[in-house]
């Protein structure tokens, strides 16, 4: 079982990210489960979504309390919400930011994780460039694939195309591809404090 | 009003139910021996029930207008209770009762079902009393209007909750005594409120057809039912139906009291299409509201002892305003 928790703000696509991830997992034959933990929050409020991937049927429906990976769509949440709570010692952290982990002030925390398990990705910048709107999901999921190696880029692309038809889908795929490329360039798996820079 | 055919030269014009001098095709439905009797004998309405009469009038007219292809949704209330105590039904139409507040919505559902089943010939009427229409059923009614569902809603307005023993509804007129607005204190009877004119509210929805009618003018009522069935979409017909029990008038005077309501201007009779008033029934022999009020014991406190001329004047003012507002007295007619 691989469990991902995604933190963001209402309107940033947190739930969609979990759904996309579950679709990508499904594409690869996994059993996948995406559950939002949202309710009456409005645009801007902190929200969380979960995604589980497994080799066999997922029966449990409890919220993910000890994630294997955490995606943080908005770095401003770092100091408001306990985003890393329950993160397994071998877990992954991916943050949407054009700044570095140190610059974000969490260098010390991520140092406890295995090498290459934490990264920043300027996903919003990529989205603005490719999609024209601040929707960082595609790039972030590509980034998650890149740092975890759990899913193939093609699965993410397929999920994106399933969810977003036509031009919008392709633009998101383009954003995802560039994110992959960025991680390939800096070889994040080698460095614990990788920082994908825009090329 | 373009209204029913107004025949000259007849001893009874077209005010009576029948007129053997008219061509058969323009005689009233009620004069026809083979009328449907949509509400049949043996029902348990009180003696002189205006609602029973109004319902038969309206549904018989509708049955003729749509060639018998009619289904009816009925709200809870007197009309439903007195017509269908198990194991007997007085209805001679396809008829469904669901709840007090939902006749309009049930009508919507039936209309949708008929549409989807391709039964385009079948038309839908929803009906209820004033309580089930202007109070508890108002939300469903407004929803039906707003969606312009293909339903004619008929409200039989007897101005209070008669089924439960004459309690005030929002259709109860000012100063009327009911079981919940007793004739005691400084403000006897029902309050002089803002009123709740559902026909005007219906018009505000911009629906194809809205009309008021009264059991005292059968031909006008039949004309309006027939006209309403000529439209598709949401339609509303508000029929004044006196209740001898609740109003405290003689059982034989049901139509007489209804007539005085119309002739005094207290119950304006008009019709409207797409939110615009298109016709009104002119008052024929205008009477002061006193004539109407004095017939009914629910207003007896206004005339007891030295009487309550101030309140009677306020009621007269309501009638006068109706007459002005709806143009009920034609120019040059005796006032």
């Amino acid at each position: 079982m691989f469990e991902v928790r995604i933190h963001g703000r209402g309107g940033q696509g947190v739930v969609t990210a979990a759904e996309l991830l579950s679709i990508a997992g499904f594409e690869e034959g996994f059993w996948a489960q995406a559950i939002p933990s949202f309710g009456s929050e409005r645009m801007g409020a902190p929200v969380v979504a979960f995604c589980r991937l497994n080799e066999c049927e997922i029966r449990s429906r409890e919220p993910i309390t000890s994630p294997d990976a955490v995606i943080i769509q908005d770095p401003t949440l770092l100091h408001q919400v306990k985003v890393f709570e329950g993160l397994s010692p071998g877990g992954y952290v991916l943050i949407n930011s054009s700044r570095s982990l140190d610059q974000l002030g969490i260098g010390e925390f991520v140092d406890k994780l295995p090498r290459g398990h934490a990264a920043c990705l300027p996903a919003t910048e990529l989205a603005l460039r490719h999609v024209g709107r601040p929707v960082p999901n595609a790039a972030l999921l590509a980034g998650l694939c890149a740092i975890t190696g759990r899913l193939k880029p093609a699965s993410i692309e397929a999920a994106i195309r399933r969810k977003f038809k036509g031009e919008v889908g392709e633009k998101n795929v383009a954003a995802a591809r560039e994110a992959f490329a960025m991680f390939a360039n800096v070889e994040v798996k080698e460095g614990a404090r990788a920082h994908a820079q825009a090329v | 009003m373009s209204g029913p055919q107004r025949v000259k030269f007849y001893q009874t014009g077209t005010f009576t139910v029948g007129n053997r001098l008219l061509d058969v095709s323009v005689r009233s439905v009620q004069s026809d021996r083979s009328r449907n009797n949509s509400l049949n004998s043996g029902h348990r309405a009180c003696q002189g029930c205006g609602e029973a009469l109004g319902a038969r009038y309206a549904l018989d007219a509708a049955m003729r207008a749509v060639n018998g292809k009619l289904v009816v949704a009925n709200a809870t209330g007197c009309l439903e209770v007195f017509s269908t105590p198990y194991p007997e039904s007085s209805w001679r139409v396809a008829w469904l009762h669901s709840l007090f507040a939902n006749a309009a919505a049930v009508g919507t559902g039936m209309a949708a079902a008929m549409r989807v089943k391709g039964r385009h010939d079948v038309r839908v009427i929803a009906q209820g009393g004033d309580g089930g229409t202007v109070d508890i059923g108002f939300a469903c009614l407004s929803g039906m209007f707003e969606r312009n569902d293909d339903v004619l809603y008929i409200c039989y307005d007897n101005e209070a909750y008669m089924n439960t023993g004459v309690q005030r509804s929002s259709a109860t007129p000012a100063a009327a005594r009911t079981a919940t607005t007793p004739a005691v204190g400084d403000q006897p009877g029902n309050v002089f409120g803002q009123g709740k004119n559902v026909p005007l509210i219906a018009m505000a929805h911009g629906i194809p057809y809205v009309a008021t009618a009264s059991v005292c003018d059968l031909r006008d009522l039949e004309y309006k039912v027939e006209k309403a069935m000529g439209f598709h979409g949401a339609r509303y017909l508000h029929v004044h139906v006196p209740c001898p029990l609740g109003w405290g008038c003689d059982t034989g005077d049901t139509l007489k009291v209804a007539r005085l309501a119309a002739e005094s201007g207290l119950f304006p009779i008009f019709e409207a299409e797409y939110g615009e008033i298109t016709g009104r029934r002119a008052i024929r022999k205008r009477v002061p509201v006193d004539d109407y009020l004095r017939m009914q014991s629910r207003f007896a406190h206004l005339f007891k002892g030295r009487g309550d001329p101030a309140r009677v004047a306020m009621i007269q003012a309501i009638a006068d305003r109706n007459i002005r507002r709806f143009g009920l007295v034609s120019e040059g007619a005796p006032a």
């Binding site: - | 000259k8 030269f9 007849y10 001893q11 009874t12 014009g13 077209t14 005010f15 009576t16 139910v17 029948g18 007129n19 053997r20 001098l21 009233s28 009620q30 004069s31 021996r33 009797n37 509400l39 049949n40 004998s41 043996g42 029902h43 348990r44 309405a45 003696q47 002189g48 029930c49 205006g50 029973a52 009469l53 038969r56 017509s83 269908t84 198990y86 194991p87 007997e88 039904s89 007085s90 209805w91 001679r92 139409v93 396809a94 008829w95 059968l218 001898p244 003689d250 059982t251 034989g252 005077d253 049901t254 139509l255 007489k256 007539r259 022999k285």
Partner: protein
């Protein structure tokens, strides 16, 4: 369909619930006597023929009239229509113009040559009618329809009596009168003109009459004593009118006084204008309000330029000067002399003071009682002498053509019973339908149609009929203004307004029945019946 228990019911099943048991009062259909019928001296069923007429059944309507009155065309013209005085419609707008519809029907019958036949086989009995005036003609007509042989002896040269000698042509054209008399003779009645009965007993014996109806009328003019210098200047009304009828041109002069205030005075005054008088002045001892002449006659006379001198009596004449005494009304409305006199110049004076009966031929008939110059009759119109009946102006009654027609009908019925040796019992009368019994809401506002009239200038130059007839649409309109007081006219109101569908409509002409199984006795049918033909009666407990 297997219907869910108690949730789904068959339609119309409430018929098993007989709600009639709730009733404490029951409606019943009644027939009340229409005030017009009640007022008609001829006993016409006016409402019934109006009912038939309003549907356009003119012949049936006419036949309904002639059941009672053989001369609708004449009566429609000359009857003073008391029916209209009592018409309930008058309280709504104006009375139904019954006479004009009657006239329309009568004229139509003449135009279409509608005939009547005896209703009964011949009885072989023979009745003598003395006098071919309205009463005699009426009796003869009815007796003939009853199967009897009738012979009328008429002393004068024409049949018609006062219809011919008392009523000017401009009110009753003679072709109309002749046509209606001809219909009676066509029925088999023999009229022997210029046949004066001198000795009734002898006539009856010799001709083997089984019964006799006396209807000689009142043809002797009443005279007032007026000392006159020139008796030729004073003549009586009947003399004048009879002269006109005979084609004479009586010399009245330019200025004519007519003394009297009855309808005959009006007839004379108006005839005088037509005969060339430039001034016709009615001299009457009381006021217009007290004048016995009908208002419409006075009005028409005024329109034609007839003048009136109220509160005046003529005392004497000398050389064309008439001495007139002024009168005043006392507390009881009776004229009293004042002793003030004035003089009126006139070329002639016509006395229209009423008529007396010429009873000379009865002087030898035993058993008759004569009081105040008229023959007494019983309720069966029989005189004190068995088998001798009398009617019209010669018996104590109002002297109108219609009363006379009624007498004829009534006498005929008793004579028929007499001949058949049975008893005739008149049908009991229903209570009269009052205005208060009506629900007038249902009647359309419809004032009476005005009959066309010749303009005054044309009238006074000739004896053309003054008042025109209605055309068909007007006649229909008038017929349909009838309120049908007290009698169901099948307006369907009861059928329609019953909240319990407890009224059974039986079909055209068959009226309605109550279904007491379901009638709860609310009384709405009774309240909403326009004509007051439903009465609520308490249920017996």
């Amino acid at each position: 369909m297997n219907k869910p228990f108690a949730i789904t019911l068959d339609v119309g099943t409430s018929l098993v619930n007989k709600t009639g048991s709730w009733r404490t009062e029951r409606p019943v259909y009644v027939d009340r006597l229409p005030p017009c019928n009640n007022a008609c001296p001829a006993g016409e069923n006016i409402q019934q023929w109006l009912y038939l007429a309003e549907e356009g059944n003119y012949e049936q309507a006419w036949r309904e009239i002639v059941k009672h009155n053989p001369m609708p065309a004449c009566m429609g013209r000359v009857c003073y229509h008391p029916c209209e005085d009592f018409c309930n419609r008058a309280r709504l707008d104006t009375a139904v113009s019954i006479h004009s519809v009657e006239r329309f029907l009568g004229d139509l019958a003449i135009r279409n040559n509608w005939r009547v036949k005896p209703d009964a086989p011949s009885t072989g009995r023979h009745v003598l009618v003395v006098g071919a005036g309205p009463s005699g003609l009426s009796a003869a007509y009815h007796l003939a329809r009853m199967g009897h042989r009738v012979t009328i002896y008429e002393a004068g040269p024409w049949a018609g009596g006062m219809m011919r000698f008392g009523i000017p042509k401009y009110r009753l054209p003679r072709d109309v009168l002749d046509a209606e008399i001809r219909r009676i003779t066509d029925l088999g009645v023999t009229i022997k003109l210029n046949h004066k009965v001198a000795d009734l007993d002898q006539t009856m014996r010799s001709e083997k009459f089984d019964a006799v109806f006396l209807a000689v009328g009142a043809h002797l003019a009443k005279r007032a004593y007026i000392p006159a210098g020139d008796a030729g200047k004073i003549l009586d009304a009947l003399q004048l009118l009879r002269g006109v009828e005979a084609g004479d041109q009586p010399l009245l002069g330019r200025r004519v006084l007519i003394y009297g205030g009855g309808n005959t005075a009006m007839d004379v005054a108006r005839s005088a204008k037509r005969l060339g008088a430039s001034e016709a002045i009615v001299v009457y001892r009381r006021t217009r309000e007290k004048m016995p002449a009908h208002d419409f006659e006075v009005r028409e006379a005024e329109e034609e330029g007839v003048m009136f001198k109220w509160l005046s009596t003529i005392k004497a004449e000398s050389e064309g000067k008439f001495t007139v005494e002024k009168m005043k009304l006392d507390d009881k409305g009776k004229p009293q002399p004042t002793g003030e006199f004035e003089t009126m110049e006139a070329d002639s004076c016509v006395l229209a003071l009423g008529q007396d009966v010429d009873l000379s031929f009865l002087s030898r008939v035993t058993g008759l009682t004569i009081t105040d110059g008229v023959v007494e009759v019983g309720p069966d119109m029989m005189t004190g002498r068995r088998g001798v009946f009398a009617g019209g102006d010669m018996v104590p009654a109002e002297r109108t053509v219609t009363v006379a027609i009624g007498h004829g009908k009534k006498a005929a019925r008793y004579i028929d019973a007499f001949l058949r040796d049975t008893t005739y019992t008149p049908a009991s009368k229903h209570e009269v339908a009052k205005f208060e019994n009506l629900n007038t809401w249902y009647y359309t506002d419809a004032p009476a149609t005005v009959q066309p009239a010749l303009d005054a200038a044309r009238r006074i130059s000739n004896f053309e009929e003054v008042v025109g007839g209605l055309d068909e649409s007007n006649a229909l309109f008038e017929a349909r203004r009838c309120l049908s007081c007290g009698n169901c006219f099948e307006c369907d109101n009861c059928f329609g307004v019953c909240p319990d569908n407890a009224v059974i409509k039986l079909g055209p002409g068959k009226r309605f029945e109550f279904n007491y199984d379901y009638c709860k006795g609310c009384g709405m049918c009774s309240t909403e019946c326009p004509c007051g033909a439903i009465r609520m009666e308490p249920e017996t407990i």
